[in-house]
């Protein structure tokens, strides 16, 4: 009886099918469907004479629908959903990469024309030619480069010691559940969320109260940047100090070395590569801040290398004012904005690369 049922359900002339491999689409089905839908949507876009944005969106919609239908018919609904999600996730990633490439390419193309030696080495300004009675605007970013380096440098000088010492307190001295340690940890977290423009307003308020009105100065901008930089330094240094193996500290304590010497001679040298990396990334983060510097140091076209007196120009602010408050020669102002932006991006990228190289080259064994 059971044999009869068996022969009814399975035709003996057909080969035995493995239920685990039935109903599978070919391996690169996504690729085939993508090419197919690109051709279809390209055809539609050509016929209707539409924008290329229509082509992309239409192609993606056709692709998703076709894939869903194919997979539901050949496989199952569950697998269709799986394939759709996989595609959506990949699209999300491409959606993030596109702006990155587009931004960097735009800045490079727009800025490269203006970025030359005279842009870097001169202050720029208007030159009046008495013979032709014409005013020519020459672009220069020297004052902005000097301002950026001075303001960021002073901010780094103030934040790095405070940041490293705080992380040493958190990791080496405080007990984990101590109120002070928890308060500091929490407030550092909160401080990372302070809007940058609020930091600028704080610095301006502080110096308005101390110095009086019109208290624009490079140092004031440095204070604002420090407020933004300290939590980043604390966070990364803390993480690095926690990676130092406890055995090293214990060995040092066992030899009778004091806590202070252990930290200076054992813990810090072990973590130094990570700390430098964190500091570099923190500098790269604040060097591009525009709003706080714009509020606290204002802007100027004159050369001012004294951070304690008068407005200072910086690269990000030059990029901003070049677009928002251009001079009579709007094209020249915009060009200098792009030159400054490209210079800024180059500095940030170089800082990032150096940080990664340090992290990679000196990473302690076992942490990677």
């Amino acid at each position: 009886m059971s044999a009869a049922v068996h022969t009814q359900t399975r035709d003996p002339r057909r080969p035995v099918v493995n239920p685990l491999t039935t109903g599978q689409l070919p391996r690169f089905v996504e690729l085939y469907v993508l090419v197919g839908s690109a051709i279809v949507s390209g055809g539609i876009a050509l016929l209707m004479g539409h924008h290329w944005g229509t082509f992309v969106i239409l192609g993606l919609v056709i692709y998703l629908v076709a894939l869903a239908v194919l997979s539901t018919m050949a496989e199952s609904r569950r697998k269709a959903v799986d394939r759709i999600v996989r595609s959506l996730v990949c699209i999300a990633f491409l959606l993030a990469i596109a702006p990155l490439i587009s931004t960097l390419a735009t800045v490079a193309i727009k800025g490269i024309g203006d970025l030359n030696w005279s842009f870097i080495s001169t202050t720029g300004g208007a030159v009046f030619n008495p013979a032709t009675l014409k005013v020519t605007i020459s672009n220069g970013a020297l004052q902005a480069i000097v301002g950026t380096l001075e303001i960021t440098g002073i901010a780094a000088l103030m934040s790095i010691p405070v940041g490293i010492l705080t992380s040493i307190y958190l990791v080496e001295y405080s007990r984990p559940n101590q109120l002070m340690a928890r308060a500091v940890t929490f407030l550092v977290d909160v401080m990372t969320g302070i809007p940058s423009i609020v930091a600028g307003l704080f610095a301006l308020s502080l110096f308005t109260i101390i110095v009086g009105p019109k208290a624009f100065s490079g140092f004031s901008a440095s204070v604002a940047l420090s407020v933004l930089m300290i939590p980043i330094v604390v966070r990364s240094c803390e993480e690095m100090l926690r990676l130092v193996p406890h055995d090293l500290r214990e060995a040092s304590f066992a030899l009778g070395v004091s806590r202070y010497s252990t930290i200076i001679k054992i813990v810090l040298p072990t973590a130094i590569a990570g700390i430098i990396t964190g500091v570099m990334l923190a500098i790269a983060r604040v060097i591009g801040e525009t709003a706080p510097i714009f509020i606290a140091a204002s802007f100027t076209n004159n050369f001012n290398a004294n951070p304690f007196n008068g407005p200072m120009q910086t690269l990000p602010v030059l990029a901003y004012t070049g677009y928002k408050f251009p001079s009579q020669d709007i094209a020249a102002s915009n060009a200098s904005a792009w030159g400054a932006a490209l210079l800024l991006v180059l500095i940030v990228v170089i800082l990032n690369i150096i940080a990664r190289i340090i992290a990679r080259a000196f990473a302690p064994k076992g942490a990677r």
Binding site: R86, V89, A92, F93, A96, I97, P99, L100, L104, T106, V107, V162, G163, L165, T166, I168, Y173, R175, N177, M180, A183, V184, L187, D189, V190, M191, T192, G193, I194, P195, S196, I197, V198, L201, F202, S205, L206, I209, V227, I230, P231, I232, S236, R242, L243, V244, E250, S258, R259, Y260, I263, T277, G278, L281, E289, I295, P316, Y323, A363, R368
Partner: protein, 386 residues
């Protein structure tokens, strides 16, 4: 080494601490904390000075945060309590036409929240998708590099995004703006006269969304990677597809972490200045429309940036007052995010025991624990430590 650029405290650490605290009493090996070591080691002057320095630095952080609030309040109070109609400063210039501080700051708060919310609606799903892609879909070998590419987005200065938005995003979104306005104009968001230059809230929000992508995705990614490997493998062994595995094992585990990552992204969007100031053509009003020009709601930060240099005296103090409001709002959002991750973060309750730990946890835990944890680390996907 995971250098978290967003400055976010990964959820593993609070538990690492509580773990170390628990072992303090039972494990004499742990020399953490000043008390136990100090009792045995002779206290030297250099030691006390160094402790004083580091304690002072930690105290300085409390002082700075208090000072930020204090100085903003001191500067803002005169404008907040002033009578705006009768004051010669406040009844002219950028602050003209408002009866008091609150009627000035109200529409600005609305604009800030509105623009950030739209940016979040656009950006958060993409960011979570990216995090899933890097943690679960991308080839293992590529995951580290792809994650670094996304982090690079965070390194691009905001002013550069602003300039990029002006010349790339505005023209790019113009066809979409006209399309939405023509076909869906009855919907309040898309109503009004469509912009012809592209200086719309939509364009600003798209740029803002790009800027908050890296923070949301890097935090979500770390949390997705902390999902217990065994949960994932159990789901796969039961025949789940990859998406079903993610839906059943990864997302429930990471839900609160993703929520707080989104809130931190919101915090970033609230304070963003330059992109908005450069792109959106604003007016101070409460409006739902995102496709219009010169009738867009204005944000606090952009309003300060645009008016600060022309403002004088009390007007400037009024702007500082709006900055104080921004400070309070973003402080609230950040505290809420930290609270969520602290209270209901992954690894609470029974999950704590099975949670794969990061190397830092292993370094501070008791020996037996760390043996188990190092096994968990071997289990962990490569991307977790890169």
């Amino acid at each position: 080494v995971s250098t978290n650029e967003s400055g976010f405290r990964s959820s593993a650490e609070p538990f690492a601490r509580s773990g170390a605290a628990g072992s303090d009493t039972t494990d004499p090996r742990t020399p953490r904390g000043a008390g136990s070591a100090r009792a045995k080691v002779k206290s030297r002057p250099a030691d006390r000075i160094f402790f004083g320095l580091s304690f002072g630095a930690a105290t300085l952080i409390l002082v700075i945060l208090a000072a930020v609030a204090l100085f903003l309040i001191i500067q803002a109070i005169p404008a907040i309590v002033a009578s705006w109609q009768h004051n010669p400063d406040l009844s002219s210039g950028p602050t003209a036409g408002y009866s008091n501080f609150w009627s000035y700051v109200g529409p600005l708060i609305w604009g800030t929240l509105f623009v950030s919310a739209i940016a979040l609606i656009i950006g958060a799903p993409i960011a979570i998708g990216i995090a899933l892609f890097i943690s679960h879909y991308a080839p293992r070998r590529l995951a580290g590099i792809l994650g670094y590419l996304i982090d690079l987005l965070a390194a691009v200065p905001s002013i550069v995004f602003g300039l990029w938005g002006i010349i790339v995003i505005r023209p790019l979104l113009l066809p979409l703006t006209t399309f939405l306005n023509h076909n869906l104009g009855w919907f309040p968001l898309f109503g009004g006269a469509a912009s012809t230059t592209g200086s719309t809230i939509l364009a600003g929000a798209v740029v803002l969304a790009v800027m908050i992508l890296p923070i949301i995705s890097s935090i979500s990614r770390e949390i997705f990677l902390q999902t217990p490997r065994l949960h994932e493998e159990a789901a796969l062994a039961l025949g789940a597809t990859k998406w079903e595995m993610i839906k059943m094992a990864v997302l429930p585990y990471a839900r609160s972490g993703v929520v707080s990552a989104t809130l931190l992204g919101l915090g970033r969007a609230l304070g963003e200045t330059m992109a908005i100031a450069l792109i959106i053509s604003p007016s101070i009003q409460i409006s739902w429309r995102i496709l219009t020009e010169s009738q867009n709601s204005q944000t606090i930060a952009a309003n300060i940036a645009l008016n600060f240099q022309v403002a004088n005296g009390l007007q400037r103090e009024a702007l500082i007052g709006t900055g104080l409001m921004l400070f309070v709002i973003s402080l609230g959002v950040n505290i809420l995010a930290r609270f969520i991750i602290g209270r209901t973060g992954p690894g609470t309750g029974s999950k704590r025991k099975t949670k794969p730990a990061r190397p830092s946890v292993a370094a501070t835990s008791a020996p037996i624990e760390s043996a188990a944890l190092s096994m968990a680390i071997i289990d962990q996907p490569e991307g977790a430590q890169s």
